[in-house]
């Protein structure tokens, strides 16, 4: 089976999310094949899970001050800070052997990534996961490994989340090139009820490739290895491609109307309130 591979680019938070949703849309329309892409974020950005509580006004202010954008992803999961990292997006569906159970699909993709890391000489482990209720979910994605997420020496290296629409899925994942906690310390923390939890939760539980490999990772080498690993495990031969005119149009529209729009970024699903009206409580913090 042949799939499309989109070469690495760095984009704004809104553009990155708009492109990924455009890829899922064209896949569902039948005008695009299974697609894998890797990308970066310029400027650095925070992404929130689709149903995560909106960013508080205080955190918004600190993000602005630090030059950090924020965006609400179309995928689930928790908050991810994108700076010294590599993001992947995989759009696939039933015809490519996906959309069985969420965990089964996760497992296949994780096996592909694990194979990729092995090609880099890094024997990463797969987290077994555990049954978790909403109260046990931390707000920050990297605060805890979940089912089939990849760890090295027990520390989380990759965090992933999915959107499932019809018979297709979009999976996002963040691979830390280096772990620098400055954002969590200086921007995310210092909010009543969360600072202590986040500091304790993240400390010692996260690892970047630089620490794991003992050298500064070459981004293109990492991408090549992961592309190869996903090819071997998923049985997909990746051919380099580009965004179609339809996808560029869609992405431009989604960027303007959705992902660069505060009405999207500061809401939470259908039942969201405007962020200024949000009244954080311990219960809501835990729900993330």
């Amino acid at each position: 089976m042949t799939g499309r591979f989109l070469p690495w680019t760095a984009g704004t938070a809104a553009w990155n999310m708009a492109v990924d949703e455009a890829l899922l849309t064209t896949y569902l329309r039948g005008t695009a094949p299974v697609t894998l892409r890797f990308y970066g974020w310029d400027p650095p950005a925070l992404s929130l899970g689709y149903l995560q509580r909106p960013l508080s006004a205080a955190r918004q202010a600190r993000c602005r001050q630090a030059g950090v954008e924020w965006v609400r992803r179309p995928t689930g999961g928790r908050a991810v800070f994108h700076q010294y990292e590599l993001t992947y997006a995989l759009v696939a569906g039933e015809q490519d052997g996906f959309t069985g159970s969420v965990l089964a699909d996760y497992h296949r993709i994780a096996l592909g990534l694990q194979r990729g890391f092995a090609l880099l000489g890094l024997p990463v482990e797969m987290a077994a996961g555990q049954r978790r209720g909403k109260a046990m979910l931390p707000e920050a994605c990297f605060a805890a490994p979940s089912w089939y997420e990849l760890t090295y020496q027990g520390k989380k290296l990759v965090g992933s989340a999915q959107l499932r629409r019809g018979k297709a899925l979009l999976q996002h994942g963040s691979i830390l090139l280096a772990y620098d906690p400055w954002f969590w310390w200086e921007v995310w923390a210092e909010e009543p009820g969360t600072a202590a939890v986040d500091k304790a939760a993240l400390s010692g539980k996260v690892i970047g490739l630089e620490e794991a490999l003992g050298m500064v990772p070459d981004r293109m080498a990492v991408i090549a290895a992961l592309r190869q690993g996903l090819s071997e495990v998923l049985g997909i031969s990746w051919e380099e491609g580009f965004l179609t005119a339809e996808e560029r149009r869609l992405a431009t529209q989604l960027q303007r109307e959705k992902y660069a729009n505060p009405a999207w970024n500061n809401r939470r699903g259908r039942s969201a309130r405007p962020v200024m009206e949000a009244t954080p409580s311990c219960k809501e913090e835990a729900r993330g």
């Binding site: 209720g133 979910l137 992933s160 259908r270 039942s271």
Partner: protein, 125 residues
């Protein structure tokens, strides 16, 4: 588990029809495929919805999945309990895990829903 007295959609919603009202939820098969549900994004009471359009979403530990309206109509009630106990969708998908109640606008759409037998075939039971 596919109760015989309900109707179904190919997107794995179930429908219980009583008069001009339909109660809707996701099937036992769907909740198993999703895994542990941690949040349910409900439609709003009074919202007009169209059959096959997205009317909410369910977040499990690793994924967000859309919930599609099985019928056209107006949302008359939603299961507020799911805001506090979303795990009811896993524990009791056909009972306490119900999602919304719809006032049916086009009764002819009921004919397009799957019977329990057809749904069982779809999921290979």
């Amino acid at each position: 588990m596919v109760p015989s007295d309900l109707k179904y959609t190919s997107e794995h919603e179930w429908v219980r029809v009583e008069g001009d009202r339909a109660t809707v939820g996701i099937t036992d098969y769907a909740q198993k495929e999703l895994g542990d549900v941690v949040y349910v994004d409900l439609p709003a009471v009074g919202e007009k919805i169209k059959a096959k359009a997205e009317m909410g979403s369910v977040e499990s530990v690793k994924a967000v999945s859309d919930i599609y309206a099985p019928l056209t109509g107006e949302i008359m009630a939603v299961n507020e309990e799911l805001q506090f106990n979303p795990e009811l969708v896993n524990q009791d998908p056909y009972g306490k895990g119900w999602i919304a109640e719809i006032e049916i606008a086009n009764p002819e759409e009921l004919q397009k829903l799957l019977t329990a037998e057809e749904y069982r075939k779809l999921i290979g039971e």
